[in-house]
């Protein structure tokens, strides 16, 4: 398996790796995947009252592509509003990192983690019913 330079770069120099306080009401946490499948992603977003993502952190158990996908996702969402962040599709990650077909699930996981983190924030703040488009389509699932 050969990796693209971008995957290698994210793997060697992960962006925004770490954790935030999951009890902070401003922090939404998404944990997706399962250890027995070989990948688990934790994505955390710090969201302000204007629904803008001020900060993002990730931790990932998984292959290089999974680590790179989550690192890239944190980089992309910072400064975006929730609505904008939800526009990010797994296929964008696939293209940016040149992931081969067997690694598409890594990008799906990153998209899922992003959605899970946002939904956790909404739930925590009683905003479940706020109008945001959470029904983005996942494309290219193997």
């Amino acid at each position: 398996m050969s990796y693209s330079n971008k995957v290698i770069d994210h793997f060697k120099n992960p962006r925004n790796m770490g954790s935030m306080d999951k009890n902070d009401p401003q922090v939404g946490t998404g944990i997706v995947g399962a250890p027995e499948c070989g990948d688990v992603m934790k994505l955390q977003l710090k969201i302000n009252d204007d629904m803008v993502i001020e900060d993002a952190r990730f931790k990932t158990f998984g292959c290089g592509s999974a680590i790179a996908s989550s690192s890239l996702a944190t980089e992309w969402v910072k400064g975006k509003t929730i609505t904008e962040a939800l526009q990010i599709k797994n296929t964008d990650i696939v293209n940016e990192l040149s992931l081969p077909p067997v690694k598409i699930h890594c990008s799906v996981l990153a998209e899922d983690a992003l959605k899970a983190a946002i939904s956790d924030y909404m739930k925590k703040n009683g905003k479940e019913n706020t109008e945001v488009n959470t029904e983005t389509q996942t494309e290219g699932v193997a």
């Binding site: 793997f11 997706v32 250890p35 027995e36 070989g38 158990f61 799906v108 899922d112 899970a116």
Partner: protein, 404 residues
């Protein structure tokens, strides 16, 4: 040190220079067909083949007439399973093998099942070794063959060959062993072990790729095996096709050298393997060896690193050639069938690395790899949500994961 450091000796080995030197004349000057009976080109090729055959037979305690040449152990294993199933069809239709075998046995057995044969896949104990009572219980009056590998390619575990052979003999069932990882590395004696058929290959013992052998017992009992490849009737009719003379010469030389140096090499590799184990274990926690540490190939170490995924670990170790039991390294999403058979949890199976040490592994390389693994584990665990959760006291078993 030469990079990447090669530590995957159970996958293949580099050729020993002495082997290449022995082979060289048989490419150009002595190029004859060993089956040519009418001239000296043929005779000298035949002499070389027969000399190698004697050397190889002697290395496993057999007679030269009992050994046939093949393209490798995969072919030898195919000949045994398919050939015995066909030849002994009137006697029975049941074969016993083990869950941790190589795909060249398991896939061939599955093929026979599709043709209506019955196969029992014995489980292994936690240490990778079969339970002899389970074997005894699996034998029926329809059993024609027991096929059990001598040394496992992933975890290096050595099965109790002599005991298995004794059971097979008592029940009048043929006993085959895939000894690919064993010949030239651990003692093999087909008579002491009551082995009737034995597969092995050159490239795991510093010989060339593309040549292997199959031992087929000639008396007590006389074993017969239907051929897969028909043709000129070479190799006692069991494997037609022009012999790979230079390959066979190299095979003979490689095994001769390996047997000569076995005791010394066993001691050296055991020491280096244990050193690698100690460097890693003394500086990390939650690392679990897979397979029995005593009944084991000297040059094999297989470890599972909790909270770290195997492929990312290999990526971190990119200047070392290693193998992982992680599914991510293959097209399927299932982790190693061998580790699963040991009862290793899927997450730990995904986190496993096989270290294969061999003839050209140095102490310096072992120290480098051991220390590098420690560093890699530390960095990847900092990145791992599982490690963080475990530290916080979250039970990873009870956590509600989202399967995908």
């Amino acid at each position: 040190m030469r990079f990447p450091i090669y530590m995957d000796y159970q996958a293949t080995t580099p050729m020993d220079k002495r082997v290449l030197e022995a082979m060289m004349p048989y490419f150009m000057e002595k190029f004859g067909n060993a089956a040519s009976r009418n001239h000296s080109y043929g005779w000298e090729a035949e002499d070389a083949v027969e000399q190698a055959r004697e050397l190889l037979a002697k290395a496993v305690g057999a007679d030269g007439r009992e050994l046939i040449f093949t393209s490798g152990a995969t072919e030898s294993n195919n000949i045994v399973l398919k050939g015995i199933a066909e030849m002994y069809a009137s006697k029975g239709d049941h074969i016993i093998t083990v869950k941790t075998e190589h795909p060249s046995i398991l896939d061939t057995a599955a093929h026979l099942e599709r043709l209506g044969k019955k196969v029992t896949y014995l489980p292994v104990q936690k240490n990778g070794i079969i339970d002899l009572d389970e074997l005894r219980r699996a034998i029926t009056d329809k059993t024609i063959l027991i096929s059990i590998m001598m040394v496992n390619n992933e975890i290096g575990v050595i099965q109790p060959m002599a005991e298995i052979g004794k059971i097979a003999r008592e029940h009048g069932v043929l006993f085959h062993s895939d000894a690919t990882q064993a010949v030239g590395k651990v003692p093999v004696d087909i008579n002491a072990m009551n082995i009737d058929l034995l597969s092995f290959t050159a490239h795991k013992v510093y010989g060339p790729k593309g040549v292997g052998a199959l031992y087929v017992r000639r008396k007590n009992p006389r074993v017969r095996c239907a051929p897969l490849v028909d043709g000129g009737g070479h190799e006692r009719g069991m494997r037609s096709g022009t012999l790979n003379v230079p390959g066979i010469v190299g095979f003979g030389k490689a095994v001769e050298l390996a047997v000569e140096e076995m005791d010394r090499e066993k001691e050296r590799l055991t020491r280096l393997r244990n050193k690698l184990h100690d460097i890693i274990m003394s500086q990390t926690s939650d690392v679990f060896p897979n397979g029995d540490m005593e009944q084991r190939l000297p040059g094999n170490l297989n470890l599972s690193f909790a909270f770290v995924e195997g492929e990312s670990l290999l990526m971190e170790m990119s200047d070392v050639a290693l193998s992982s039991g992680s599914a991510c390294t293959s097209a399927t999403l299932d982790p190693s069938h061998v580790l699963k058979a040991l009862g290793v949890e899927d997450d730990l199976a995904h986190s496993s690395i096989r270290f294969g040490l061999g003839r050209f592994t140095t102490e310096e390389e072992v120290e480098y790899v051991g220390n590098k693994i420690v560093k890699a584990i530390t960095r990847l665990r900092e990145m791992s949500p599982l490690f963080e959760m475990a530290k916080e006291g979250v039970s990873l078993k009870d956590f509600e994961w989202t399967e995908h």
